[in-house]
């Protein structure tokens, strides 16, 4: 009589002991090991592919973080593949069925597991299966094919990673000098930040971030200039928006004349830096009263709100220090230094893009349009192209570019007062309609492409007699620029 083992299953479906004799159990275990391994090999290819693809995507998104995450990106899918393989073959029934299928054993192992109960037939089955299993060598019969050609899929993400990294290194080599120049400019700016100014310290941190991103930037120098222009704009707009007006300053000085004659004098004389320091030493209640009086006098809501603010003393001090004439100290120096830094670099750029390409010029990519030397707010505008180039946006600044003549005949650009915004609108007037001049033709083409669909759409919508509609269409066909 064949001794039948105990059947234990925990968790459900995960049999630890096979309910057959030792020989069959051993064969099933051997088969399970090979099946799990084979499953893992196949699943690991997919897992690696997923992990490497994620690494490629990560690399495209973030240049530095992906390498640190690579062990996780590969390790976690591999672990998942291993778990999946074990779970897939957790059931002895599945193992037996697969063994029967692959070896053509006529459902012996499966029936051996399923035939239960004390009966002569069950014993005969177990004995026959055991004899068969004893003669069978799983290793020989259960040849486990490797992942094979599937591994070639791994080449795709690896190739992509190599290409991305290689391209990055090539770009870095090409832009090495430009990046160095941009970095130097940013570092200089950061060094110029006054040590005791908290807001500028934050700006310096932002500049440092820009510096770290320089190697990924398409045009590093332009990126650095843009960051500096942004910083300059922030400083300028922040000061202008928060500073006290002359009327407010005068009203406040009158209100403080009794409480603090010195502070009133400082305010009247425009010494905002000293006034800021004096405000800090003033009695808060007296300041609140003065602010309230000034607010009542001017009917000024800002001063009124300030008078109710418990931190009015501190806020007013900050406002006074930030005022245009108040920043005569550190901030003024910093703004001046910032302009100098930008000026110097823009000069370098001009040298490079202009006629005098000296050897000392920055070896950056020839820009399509030069940065304006001290452009202030305009520096933050997207860069235009060299006049006549494909990226020429026709900005006012380009009109000054030496050696360009296409604007003379074909178009005029001017600023006019607009209704929609606060400032002037840039308008381009076309004088030529697709003549022989290629520049004029290009401009005409772009104007036609913008106007024709809108016009045709309007024709479709408006109630125009059919005959006239045809005429309008013909008109637009007639003025279609030559290809």
């Amino acid at each position: 009589m064949v001794k039948i083992g105990q059947f234990l299953a925990f968790p459900p479906g995960f049999a630890l002991v096979v309910p057959v004799n030792a020989t069959v159990r051993q064969k099933l275990r051997e088969a399970r090991g090979r099946l799990v391994w084979n499953q893992f090999l196949h699943a690991s290819v997919i897992a690696l592919w997923v992990g490497l693809t994620a690494a490629v995507l990560w690399r495209l998104w973030d240049r530095t973080g992906w390498l640190a995450a690579l062990p996780w990106l590969v390790g976690v899918p591999l672990l998942a593949a291993a778990v999946a393989a074990v779970v897939r073959w957790r059931s002895w029934t599945d193992v037996a069925r697969e063994l029967d299928r692959r070896l053509g054993t006529k459902d012996r192992f499966f029936t051996g597991l399923r035939a239960a109960g004390p009966s002569p037939w069950t014993d005969a089955i177990q004995r026959e299966v055991a004899d068969y299993a004893a003669r069978m060598r799983v290793r020989e019969h259960l040849q486990l094919p490797g992942p094979g050609w599937r591994t070639t899929w791994l080449l795709l993400p690896l190739l992509a990673l190599s290409l991305v990294e290689g391209w990055h290194h090539v770009r870095l080599a090409e832009k090495h000098a430009e990046i160095a120049a941009a970095r130097e400019m940013l570092q200089k700016t950061r060094e110029a930040v006054p040590p005791d100014d908290r807001e500028l310290a934050r700006a310096a941190e932002e500049l440092e971030e820009v510096e770290n991103r320089l190697s990924d930037a398409k045009e590093p120098l332009r990126e650095a200039l843009r960051a500096l222009a942004e910083l300059e704009r922030k400083l300028a707009s922040g000061s202008a928006a928060d500073a006290l007006t002359a009327a407010e300053t005068a009203a406040l000085a009158d209100a403080l004349a009794a409480e603090s004659p010195q502070l009133a004098a400082e305010l009247r004389s425009g010494n905002s830096e000293a006034a800021g320091d004096s405000v800090a030493q003033l009695d808060p209640a007296a300041l609140a009263r003065a602010l309230e009086e000034a607010a009542r006098h001017l009917e000024n809501r800002r001063l009124e709100e300030l008078s109710r603010d418990p931190n009015a003393q501190q806020q007013l001090g900050t406002i006074l220090r930030m005022s245009p004439d108040g920043g005569s100290g550190n901030r003024k120096k910093f703004l001046s230094a910032l302009r100098d830094i930008k000026q110097g670099n823009a000069g370098d750029q001009k040298n490079q893009s202009g006629e005098g390409s000296s050897e000392d010029a920055l070896p950056m990519d020839a820009p399509d349009g030069g940065e304006k030397p001290d452009s202030g707010l305009a520096d933050n505008a997207p860069p235009g192209g060299r006049p006549g180039s494909d990226r020429d946006l026709g900005r006012g600044g380009d009109l000054d570019t030496a050696g360009e003549s296409d604007t003379d005949d074909s178009r005029i650009q001017e600023f006019i007062a607009g209704q929609m915004g606060d400032g002037a609108s840039l308008v381009e007037m076309l004088r030529a309609a697709g003549g022989d001049d290629p520049r004029a033709r290009r401009a005409w083409k772009s104007a036609w492409q913008a106007a024709a669909p809108a016009a045709l759409d309007a024709v479709a919508r408006e109630e125009i007699p059919p005959g006239s509609r045809l005429m309008v269409k013909r008109y637009f066909e007639a003025i279609r620029p030559k290809e």
């Binding site: 006529k106 459902d107 012996r108 399923r114």
Partner: protein, 330 residues
Amino acid sequence: MTHMTTESVESHAAEFRDAFQRLRTEMEKFLVGQGEIIRGVLTAFFAEGHALLEGAPGLGKTALVRTLAGAAGLDFSRIQFTPDLMPSDIIGTNLIVEDEHGRKRFRFEPGPVFANIVLADEINRATPKTQSALLEAMQERHVTVAGVAHEMKRPFLVLATQNPIEMEGTYPLPEAQLDRFLLKLNVEYPDAGELHEILGRTTGDHTPTVQAVELGDLARLRELVRSVPVVREIEARAVQLVLATHPNRPEAVPLARKYVRYGASPRGAQALILCAKINALLDGRFHVAKDDIDAWVLPALRHRIILNFEGEAEGITSEAVLKEALALPH
């Protein structure tokens, strides 16, 4: 089959294999190149079923049956079915006989169906009335004449033949009667080598003779066949295959949905399992495998599928439907 031990199961199985092989060897002495047909006929013999042999004339169908009877040492009778054959010509009739005292009484005169092995030759040439006379004998193992049931001999095996050509003036077997045949075996034409062998054996001065084989307790062997266990998951394959032939079942294969009017009956599944059990025993196993079931799908089910008009018109065969069913995953 009570009071069996593991050893007795093994010894009886070995005995069965031996009996089957000896019968087969003996029949192959006389018959050439009909290995699968011999195996089918012997399977029907041990499964207590009946077989329908279909093939062109002269392929040895009658010789096959005669050889089986000779090898098994059993009674054999042959009925040549013709249109004018009457049921009483098959099952027998009551005759008025006079005893020594001059009294007259009915005495049942058994017909040729009262034999161990009955060859119903060209069964499709008899009228349906006569064909149906075989029904009771085949299924119930007895015939009733004048209200009196007469038991058939045991074992009782009907081997019917029919000719697929010359269909003029024939009466195709009704579905109910076809279903009573365990297997339908197609007798193929022999190839050149087999034809040479046939010529050598039949036209020479030495004609092989068939010796009767000692089968032992045939009833016990038949009981052994039926007691072979089948695991439910394996049995499911037979169920799957039978249901796949039913056009209105969700398990039906596409060909069955389109071209089958009625699928195989439950008798088809019984036939599959019985034949599979014999296959398993012959293979030295004590359990049925799915391969055993698949091996008998065509002989056991091909005559149980009724095609619809479209199927007949398109020239679809029941075998095509079954082959599609066989392609279903286990």
